[in-house]
Symmetry: C2
Subunit: 409 residues, 2 copies
């Protein structure tokens, strides 16, 4: 048995093929590259029951991941996050079978750790010494910290409005950190120049082929955790869209292996009304999105005006009879409070947008009675201290609490 | 097979015995109560290999936990946090076999979720409708959120200096939150009065018997993750000390079951020099600690001037030939940066104190060549944004990075 059954890289646009021993970025045609595997061998040699016996992290699927030598694996125990039933919230929105895949329980507190773990491991394998990336905060934090563990130097550029906690993570890792007075697209231009000037490996979203392989493990895990029965709907907060592309890739791969059967779940891209390029493109039945001018949302992770992989996101939506939907910040933050109050989970605004989307899609009849619905919460609420505004009474030593102060009594 | 093999509650001081169907607080003698189980039945009916096949959360040990009816379990997927090898940091401090149990990867981002999951579940089972507690932040956040999921109302009082993120967690859960201009001991007095005035269930540290059962799962998991071989040393950041008491209880229980053999690991209580009552008591060979006046440390979770369970912590240290050690804030924060840089993990200051303690104990020869050492990191660094001070250059749109700005090149 091989550790990885990786076969080659291919371009989903022009069908060019690349080997996996060298460092690659985009295809010469400008498209992101995808990883393919030796499906016949894999089908013959790996059984899903075998996977179930392994350690509860994403490396349990190592045959389906691109790292060929186990010694290159850079891991901090990421993956196999819980899939949690949400019966009380579900009852509140008339969705009987509601689940949350909670990506808050992962190193750095967001799903970005998956892409970083696999991406950094493969970067180590192909000899990368230094990489650079623009980020809205969480991806940069994950890549800088996994880079530190791998001994790879990193340069990270983020908007000055990105969550402050992510600055700490990047700085403490020993990375070169820069803020920019602008958006992630402005950070991207600065990184692009640095990559050219200094020959750095560019790990911007989809500019290296392996982060998507890390993120696809969310799809693999959902299938395994549902006992290899696919849900009816999976909703994903969509900025760069790599998570959604990854889940779509994962479920297709599981079908190839015969581990799941039947129709794929309908995939839903959830965006913010202040930055909804994918939603607009889907509404207009287009295959690519347009740059969203003056984008703005408190859900910082999905403030991406134009995603390089937009055509892959839209393809996944169309092929699965999914949809795209935009949620305003107010509805998002109201839903964040509801999830905490009804299910005891402090989720991130991006995750809250997904639950608000479910509420709306149920009302519109798009989600039907009895359907099984999986919401991706992409991160822990504790990474976004500024989205919650509260007023708290302060007592002095020796004060006592008055009963009428206690709510609900 | 029963879901729980709980037998009764007992007092470790006066040996009084209590049933487990009623709500209990302290023993009539004032001591915390502990939970006992039906060891003969358990030994006959439960095998450790059986546990290994279960879901990766702390409820895999349900027979060793106090909740008798599975329907009362309030879970968000907590437990089976990773045990991570730290070879680079280990080499840096000449400790060859260094591991970190990472309690950052758990709901609410700290180990407090374990106590809350089991404590709230059992509170639900014995019919609690409303509880109250003082907290340094993290425990209150965990209990309020798990309380919300269980449908139990909570009243939480915390020092106004407690980490601000924990205010958000408590407030969003719908709990009654109060700040106090003072320490956790002042918050405790206010809670004590409210408990008396309004007949609330008091879930202050060790004033209810079940939180410790949740925390003991850290010990169960360490044993299972080390393939039922006990490490030589386990170090724990010690405020209230429940984690250390729990780990000691767990390892003794595993010995009773015959799942582990040999000497228990030497248990080490790590405190801050600004609040070190257990260290002082241990140095003076006493069985109880004295109230630490004017306590102060950036590691807020271990700012506990006098712990109710101090005698149990000291007993565990003495019985295992362990020790107690104090670390100053500067060494703690320097170690936090080192762990990020060398192992890519952004840990909390309390966890960083543990690694600083290992460094010191190795220098002193107390930790010996080749010993296996497990450090508990009790929470994610992202919950403490104010402990990291960094300066970051800000660029304007269109600026470029100068090569000399890039460190390490």
């Amino acid at each position: 048995m091989k550790y990885s059954y990786i076969s080659h890289l291919y371009c989903p646009k022009c069908e060019a093929v690349y080997d996996t021993k060298q460092q690659h970025q985009l295809c010469i045609c400008g498209s992101p590259l995808l990883v393919d595997y030796l499906w016949d061998e894999l089908k013959a040699e790996l059984k899903r029951d075998e996977v179930a016996k392994r350690q509860p992290d994403l490396w349990r699927y190592h045959e389906l991941l691109p790292v060929e030598n186990e010694k290159n694996v850079v891991s901090q125990g990421e993956g196999m996050t819980p899939l949690i039933a949400m019966p009380t919230l579900g009852a509140d929105m008339d969705v009987t079978n509601l689940y949350m895949k909670d990506e808050g329980l992962i190193p750095t507190g967001t799903f970005k750790a998956r892409g970083a773990a696999v991406g950094v491991s493969k970067a180590k394998e192909v000899g990368v010494k230094e990489f650079a990336m623009p980020t809205n905060g969480n991806a940069g934090a994950a890549w800088a910290l996994y880079g530190a563990k791998a001994g790879i130097q990193s340069t990270i550029v983020m908007p000055q409005d990105a969550p402050k906690i992510t600055r700490n993570e990047v700085a403490l890792s020993g990375a070169n950190l820069y803020l920019v007075n602008g958006l992630i697209s402005d950070a991207g231009k600065i990184v692009g120049q640095a990559v050219k000037d200094f020959g750095l490996y560019d790990v911007s979203t989809l500019k290296e082929p392996y982060r998507i392989e890390g993120k696809k493990t969310m799809g693999l895990e959902i299938a395994e955790q549902m006992d290899w029965e696919m849900p009816d709907v999976i909703l994903y907060p969509t900025g760069g869209g790599v998570g959604l592309i990854g889940i779509y890739k994962a479920l297709n791969e599981l079908k190839k292996l015969g581990w799941v059967e039947g129709d794929l779940p309908r995939l839903v891209a959830v965006q913010a009304t202040g930055c909804a390029p994918i939603v607009k493109a889907w509404q207009e039945n287009k295959n690519e999105s347009e740059f969203w001018v003056n984008s703005s949302t408190q859900a910082f992770g999905i403030n991406v005006p134009k995603a390089l992989g937009d055509f892959l996101v839209l393809d996944a939506i169309y092929k699965t009879q999914g949809c795209a939907i935009a949620i305003d910040d107010q509805a998002m933050l109201a839903e964040q409070a509801k999830v905490a109050r009804l299910e005891g989970s402090f989720i991130c605004p991006e995750g809250a947008a997904v639950f608000a989307a479910i509420r709306q899609l149920q009302k519109e009849g798009w989600i039907k009675e009895g359907e099984t619905v999986v919401a991706l919460n992409t991160g822990a609420g504790i990474k976004y201290p500024d989205t919650v505004n509260i007023e708290v009474p302060t007592l002095e030593k020796g004060d006592s609490i008055e009963r009428e102060q206690i709510a609900g009594n």
